[in-house]
Symmetry: C2
Subunit: 417 residues, 2 copies
């Protein structure tokens, strides 16, 4: 709160004072998503290299002074963030990239990057005295909301499309959320959530409406920069659904650049599945967004009508990045590759970022000597059915050494090489 300068409408550009409490622009309505602007000169007096050297907070709350909430209760939340950034040399060799890194967001408490937004939402709801939070979600926002709310003694109401994967559904139910499985797609779930939230006055955790959530998501970029020793990589790849995560990634690097903590903002590679690629198609055809079908195994980015288009488009354009689409087959192959070379099991939408890096390298957009980070947004355990598609099946065998030796005689090269 201390360093908020103003709220600015991403549609009409209207500026509102730092103590405003509405989530979207009063003039533009729901599509007038707000951007939170900070007073970076004042922020610099606190947030500098010394601050981070001294900090012993190894979670997303390390970056609390760069956020919009007061955060008085940060000691009570699940431990979100400060996820590992792995230098992935074996994967890099395969993709012919000298310095490739994977940010493993699957290590978050409910196993996805969405915990960063949900933790902020829960603390903010508490600060506003609102004990019930609601959202529409393809699955991860919902399970992270349910978990983070439970931890703080808050209630959650969640609208998911019927196709939400088993792991995510099980999480949110187990966390005690009220879960409405909408007989329809994400668009239908989003619409019903909007109507229900308006009627019942619940705290709105839809990241495309609530501007504070991008401020949580941006911590993934702050961590990447700090984990690289306060350097920006050349490229950061992230998969895109509604567009809130890619917006957060941009905002994080923007903040650190404004504070003089990194020398540049990396090029952002926005990755979608070719089965649902409204941003990629709009960019290729140099036109506005049109509704797309939702037809991909990457459920978290299966979003036909993105809800945060302005911020998402700006992230890629302003960073001089690019949009790219990958097929579901590419994603499954990247899941296998990431698992075998690095021991990281990601869900399809998370590994789409790796598939996107591979495609952009083949296209020559990414150069061999560039430093590249793929943000792997969620754990593969959330979606066991698609994990199985990528993983294949084990060898079933009687517990008998002779049988095993016979099998080995035929397969020893696979086992040992």
């Amino acid at each position: 709160m201390r360093f908020i300068h103003s709220y600015e409408c991403t549609l009409c550009g209207a500026v509102y004072p730092a103590d405003s409490s509405f989530f979207t622009c009063p003039a533009c309505g729901e599509k007038g998503i707000l951007e939170i602007r900070y007073d970076y000169e004042r922020m610099k007096s606190i947030v500098n290299a010394d601050y981070f050297r001294a900090s012993k907070e190894f979670s997303m709350w390390r970056y609390l002074p760069l956020m919009s909430i007061r955060g008085t209760d940060i000691g009570e939340t699940l431990r979100v963030g400060w996820t590992p950034l792995y230098r992935t040399q074996r994967l890099g060799q395969t993709l012919q990239i000298d310095r490739l890194f994977v940010k493993d967001e699957g290590c978050n408490p409910t196993a996805s990057l969405k915990d960063r937004a949900s933790a902020v939402a829960c603390l903010h709801a508490r600060e506003m005295g609102r004990p019930i939070l609601a959202c529409a979600s393809t699955g991860n926002a919902a399970s992270s909301l349910a978990g983070n709310a439970a931890r703080l003694g808050l209630k959650s109401v969640i609208f998911v499309p019927k196709r939400a994967p088993l792991g995510k559904l099980t999480q949110m139910m187990l966390f005690g959320a009220t879960v409405i499985s909408v007989d329809g797609d994400y668009k239908d779930a989003f619409r019903l959530s909007r109507e229900a939230i308006a009627k019942y006055g619940w705290y709105n955790r839809n990241a495309a409406i609530n501007p504070h959530l991008v401020e949580g998501k941006k911590t993934v970029a702050l961590e990447i920069a700090e984990q690289l020793g306060f350097h920006a990589p050349d490229w950061v790849a992230v998969s895109v659904g509604d567009g809130c995560t890619v917006a957060g990634v941009y905002k994080g690097f923007y903040d650190f650049w404004k504070l003089g903590l990194i020398e540049k903002i990396p090029k952002i590679l926005g990755v979608q599945s070719s089965g649902c690629a409204p941003f990629v198609e709009a960019a290729a055809e140099r036109r506005g967004l049109r509704e797309a079908a939702e037809n991909t195994i990457a459920d978290s980015i299966s979003v036909g009508i993105p809800r945060n288009p302005v911020k998402a488009l700006r992230a890629v354009t302003a960073s001089k990045g690019a949009w790219i689409a990958v097929s579901d087959a590419d994603i499954l192959e990247a899941m296998r590759l990431l698992g075998r070379t690095e021991g990281i099991f990601g869900e399809p939408a998370g590994v789409a970022a790796v598939a996107g890096v591979q495609a952009a390298r083949i296209a020559g957009w990414i150069k061999k000597e560039e430093t590249v980070v793929a943000v792997m947004t969620g754990n593969g355990l959330k979606d066991p059915a698609n994990g199985q598609k990528a993983a294949g099946s084990p060898v079933v065998m009687k517990p008998d050494l002779a049988t095993f030796v016979h099998w080995m005689d035929q397969h020893d090269k696979e086992v040992c090489l």
Copy 2:
């Protein structure tokens, strides 16, 4: 390596020099499991409160000087350990325990405590020039071996019983392990692994044979003590299968106590499922272990013939702790309770520790004013089928506000209270 004093056989008491390279006692054979003894006086010169104050290593490698491997490649592994220790006040209120904590081992890279042993195994195998590791496993040891081996460019061969849950199986396959699904139970898988390892000379990652693995597992206890400000809790509850994890928990507290870093060793509550409780039954009937049926949803502790009985029994006895059994229904109820009150989703065997604490509190063994830690050993996402049993099903509904309002009129108390 620096502080190993000797290896001691847990069966015959024979002592072997610090540079021994065998895993079990040459005199006793496979059942002669070795205990690694340290020179604590020499260790104290390095490992003291100042050492930990200065350390910036927030992973299990923080405790490398207390381990038996050289660990020259620790920078290349997955980031294992330094998992959150949550003060669980809402859960504590329900269980009537003033200071209750849950150690969430599901945040490890392959989502279970077993990563602590597998990371050690992989580094040790590399140090010994052995590129293929093998084990039998109910699931978690296997998926963690597969992931940690992949990260280091090593190969793994794994023997699992047919009943291994979907999430774990998918993980190990995706990590590129050779997975043999044994048409039998864990006993059969263990036997075949032993024979195959003997024949092919692979590195043995069976924790009940390889004494270095308990030294990895013990880091969970070191973390608990440090996260409590270098204090031992009164009780630590942990579920028990083969007995290696409970042995590791004891060893960690023993080490810190010998170093003068904590004032006592906590009482250890060994928890089993009543569907497979060889330790609990032996303790109740004051007799030796007998083979038990493997009949519980808690697959990770469904071990009819425990492979590390001496160390497991000693952990509970020497700590003045207790053995307790909980039913599968108790475990499912504890899964719901932990999820709803704290936002933590654990697998059955992991949450068995919480169910055990509840049972021991009801029995009056644990007092209200005691400090209690439950070690939650694995993420619930690994076993979606049992997760669903605990979680129940969502409300399915047409995407229509009137329908939702009608439903709310009947259920608003559940949603809002």
